[in-house]
């Protein structure tokens, strides 16, 4: 079963090229165009996707809810709290801030595919070790 990557990115072109690159590498993807939309997908009452994401790729600067706010909200969401989340930003200062915001990793934009796949492979399990089985 391919791993499911949850891409949260407001820029459609980035979102599209990112999912394309991930899918060509064998990953499955689901997307949200900002933090608010992403949270809404997993909140009570919403129809939660059948399969839970294995990892979240999270943009920081987004409308309605930015990456940092999403991380805070995700911690309070039973579905999202344990999913490793990688923060993506074009601002180098976020390298340090990512951990403070509660992200599990950081990727600098523009993304290098090797870094992207390496980081994804580095987070193969859920943070509490109870993640999906790896093939």
């Amino acid at each position: 079963m391919s791993r499911l990557i949850f891409v949260i990115e407001d820029e459609k072109d980035i979102r599209d090229s990112l999912t394309e690159a991930l899918e060509s590498e064998g990953y499955s993807t689901i997307c949200a165009s900002n933090g608010r939309e992403a949270i809404q997908m997993f909140e009570g009452g919403a129809e939660v996707p059948e399969k839970m994401p294995d990892l979240i790729l999270l943009d920081h600067l987004m409308p309605f809810m930015n990456g940092a706010s999403f991380l805070v909200r995700a911690k309070q969401n039973r579905h999202l709290a344990d999913i490793p989340t990688i923060l993506m930003s074009a601002d180098r200062r976020m390298t340090q801030k990512a951990a403070v915001f509660g992200a599990d990793g950081y990727l600098h934009k523009p993304l290098e595919l090797d870094d992207l796949f390496g980081t994804i492979e580095g987070h193969r399990t859920h943070k509490n070790g109870k993640g999906n089985q790896i093939l």
């Binding site: 601002d91 200062r93 934009k109 993304l111």
Partner: protein
């Protein structure tokens, strides 16, 4: 000693006494001797001669030796035996033969000479002349001696008189000096009292001038002086007096005296214990008016206290950039050092006046929030003129506090004097400092100090505000850098992902030739990214041009409707992606003469904002021309802009939505504003949070250079440099 002659009597006439009892002889002798300068006195007997001599002093006696009764010798003896006439020369005239015995007899009876009657007359005259001359000389000697004596006596008398006069004068001068000293002391009052009865025995006339009491007022009442001292100083003064009496020494006191008109006079009184001529104990005092010295000392002390207070207050005000905290500290210091109540009111950013500090002196707790001098404070703020009320009346307070609860509260605090000054910042008044005194009256020097404080408070507020602005500018710059890097890299990210995907597939040997549809999509995406980067770079260049005043306008005539339609068509894809619709209304006849490229920028900015924030709802664009003015508006129904952010969004690097990001550098509306300003146009915003926004642009359909540049009209294709805007953020033009 001969009797002193009258110095006025002519002494050169010689008196000669002729004595003979024979008249014919007397006559003959008179005839012989008669000459100027002689006065011949005739005596007919010795007896007559003696009588004459009782009260006359002839110079010479010519006397017959032979006379009846008293003869010449007997007469001569009597003359010689009389003390007064002992020296009187006598010449005997004789009929006898002149032998030795006769001459001897004559001399023995005191004669100076003895002449025979038959002697030649000229010899007789010569002999008489010798005696006369002798007598004259004698007379002169006597006269000279007399004059000498008289002179001597007069000199002595004069000297004595002079000495007496001098002594008198000296005594008088001494007396006068003493009197002048006592009476002439106009800066002090000399007074003496009996040490036992304490009754006044003397007081100088200056009492009237200095203390207002006549000299008469001092008498008849014991302890007049100390009874009129200020209550606070009396005990110490009385104790001092008792010490002086006991020690019989002297001492000095500074104390206050209540003058007859109630004025307080500061006196320095020196008191000495003394004994009067009658043997009584007296206290002699000199009270000098030192009111001016004390006033100067007080002024100096107050001035020092004030400068200390000012220095401390300044330090406090500039100590912290937390304005409110500074004002609270300042207010507390004011009530410790200057007055009993202090209130600081400042105008908030919403234009409302708010009390930021309120202090009362320790121990007081009655300066409640009711004690709020709103009415006078607003007047001071409006005019900028300070308010000094030296003495607050209940009537005035009732006027300011119509609410009885508030008035009661104020009266409980019992303010006596009030001082309100406006706090100036760059010619505006941003608040007030209110000082309330319960004990003393504020005066003009207090006012000057309060104004100084207000200026310092104004500087402190300005500094804090400038610091916040600087901080805000730094924050905005940092945020801009963060956003700029995000915005510039955002279009690069898909480009890079695409190139890397291809490269990776190539390296793995998994590259398959994509279908033409996919290629077209990839090329569209790449195009969008390149256009986007290009637009970002243009924006940054525009900002740079605006900042340096290098933005040039090139005017041309075009149809506004065509420009709008062209732009809407160009953004069709974005509009579709954002799930928006555009409703466009414009009179196709509207011709304008503007800088087409720049106005296009304005429209593009407004439209992309509407797409970005429009929340997928409809966007309405309207344009109309009226009286040579074109008004066009772009309206969306998206997230809207809160009232508080509506001015800010027109600034550089500003966007209303903080904490989230809708893309863009935050420069769009700033550039729009600058372009419209260069066209002498305006932009206004009507919006409410959650209800969408309407941006309305208004500008003359044909751009004409405004009156500032002097030229009336610019023809098509005229270029015009746009002045650099001031550094301060540009405010929105509503």
């Amino acid at each position: 000693m001969p009797k002193l002659r009258d110095p006025l009597e002519p002494s050169d006439t010689i008196e000669i006494l002729l004595v003979d009892d024979r008249p014919e002889y007397l006559l003959a002798l008179e005839a012989v001797l008669a000459a100027p300068g002689y006065r011949l006195i005739k005596a007919a007997s010795g007896d007559e001669a003696l009588r004459y001599l009782l009260d006359h002093d002839p110079a010479l006696v010519l006397m017959s030796d032979q006379m009846a009764d008293l003869d010449g010798y007997e007469t001569a003896s009597l003359i010689k035996n009389t003390r007064r006439t002992r020296e009187l020369p006598i010449i005997f005239l004789t009929d006898l033969k002149l032998d030795d015995s006769n001459i001897q007899k004559a001399y023995s009876h005191g004669a100076a000479d003895c002449i025979h009657r038959s002697l030649d007359h000229s010899i007789l005259r010569a002999k008489v002349a010798v005696f006369a001359d002798l007598a004259r000389k004698m007379n002169r000697l006597v006269q000279t001696e007399f004059e000498l004596r008289v002179n001597e006596r007069e000199t002595r008398e004069r000297q004595i008189a002079e000495l007496e006069l001098k002594g008198l004068k000296r005594a008088r001068a001494e007396q006068k000096k003493y009197r002048d000293l006592v009476e002439g002391i106009d800066h002090g009052v000399v007074w003496t009292i009996d040490a036992e009865t304490r009754l006044t025995s003397f007081v100088g006339p200056s009492t009237e001038k200095i203390l207002g009491y006549s000299t008469g007022a001092w008498f008849g009442e014991a302890d007049f002086f100390s009874k009129h001292l200020c209550e606070e100083d009396r005990y110490e003064f009385e104790a001092g007096l008792a010490r002086i009496v006991k020690s019989k020494r002297e001492d000095e006191f500074d104390h206050r005296f209540v003058a007859s008109n109630g004025r307080i006079v500061w006196l320095r009184t020196g008191i000495r214990f003394s004994r009067s001529t009658e043997g009584k104990h007296v206290l002699c005092a000199l009270s000098i008016d030192i009111s001016q010295i004390k006033a100067a000392e007080l002024a100096l002390r107050r001035s020092k206290e004030r400068s200390d207070f000012l220095a401390e207050a300044s330090a406090l005000l500039s100590e912290s950039l937390d304005t409110e905290k500074s004002m609270i500290h300042f207010s507390r210091l004011s009530v410790e050092r200057f007055c009993e109540g202090q209130i600081v009111d400042l105008i908030e950013s919403d234009g409302k006046l708010r009390t930021v500090a309120r202090s009362e002196r320790t121990g007081d707790s009655s300066l409640s929030e009711f004690v709020d001098f709103q009415e006078p404070i607003r007047k001071v703020l409006r005019t900028g003129n300070p308010l000094l009320v030296p003495l607050l009346t209940e009537k005035k307070l009732a006027e300011w506090f119509p609410d009885p609860i508030a008035l009661a509260s104020v009266l409980r605090f019992d303010p006596r004097s009030l001082l309100i000054v406006a706090v100036p910042v760059r010619g505006r008044y941003v608040g007030t400092l209110t000082f309330i005194s319960r004990t003393s009256r504020f005066d003009t020097s207090d006012l000057a100090m309060a104004e100084d404080l207000a200026r310092r408070a104004g500087s402190a507020l300005e500094n804090a505000s400038l610091y916040l602005q600087a901080q805000e500018a730094v924050r905005a710059r940092d945020e801009f850098l963060s956003i700029a890097s995000h915005e510039l890299k955002t279009p690069l990210t898909p480009l890079k992902l695409q190139t890397q995907s291809l490269r990776r597939a190539l390296a793995l040997g998994t590259l398959q030739m994509p279908g033409s549809e996919k290629v077209a999509r990839m090329l569209d995406s790449s195009d969008r990214q390149i256009t986007r980067i290009s637009r970002l770079i243009d924006d940054l260049l525009d900002i740079s041009r605006i900042s340096s005043g290098k933005m040039q306008l090139t005017f041309e005539e075009f149809r506004l409707g065509e420009l709008f339609q062209d732009i809407i068509d160009r953004f069709e894809e974005e509009i579709k992606i954002a799930r928006c619709t555009v409703e466009f209304q414009c009179d196709s006849k509207i011709m304008v003469c503007w800088d087409r490229f720049r106005i296009e920028q304005v429209i593009v900015n407004l439209l992309t904002n509407a797409i970005k924030y429009g929340a997928g709802a409809s966007i309405e664009i309207h344009a109309v021309e009226n009286d040579g003015n074109v008004v066009f508006s772009v309206r969306d129904h998206g997230i809207g802009i809160a009232e508080a952010d509506q001015t800010r969004v027109f600034g550089r690097f500003e966007r209303a939505v903080s904490g989230t990001h809708f893309g863009g550098l935050g420069l769009g509306l700033y550039i729009v504003t600058q372009i419209l300003e260069a066209h002498s146009g305006t932009i206004s915003l009507l919006s409410r949070a959650g209800e969408g926004s309407t941006f309305t642009v208004k500008l003359a359909s044909r751009f004409s250079i405004d009156s500032k540049t002097g030229s009336a009209y610019s023809s098509p294709l005229t270029t015009r440099p746009v002045p650099a805007p001031p550094l301060a953020a540009v405010s929105a033009m509503h």
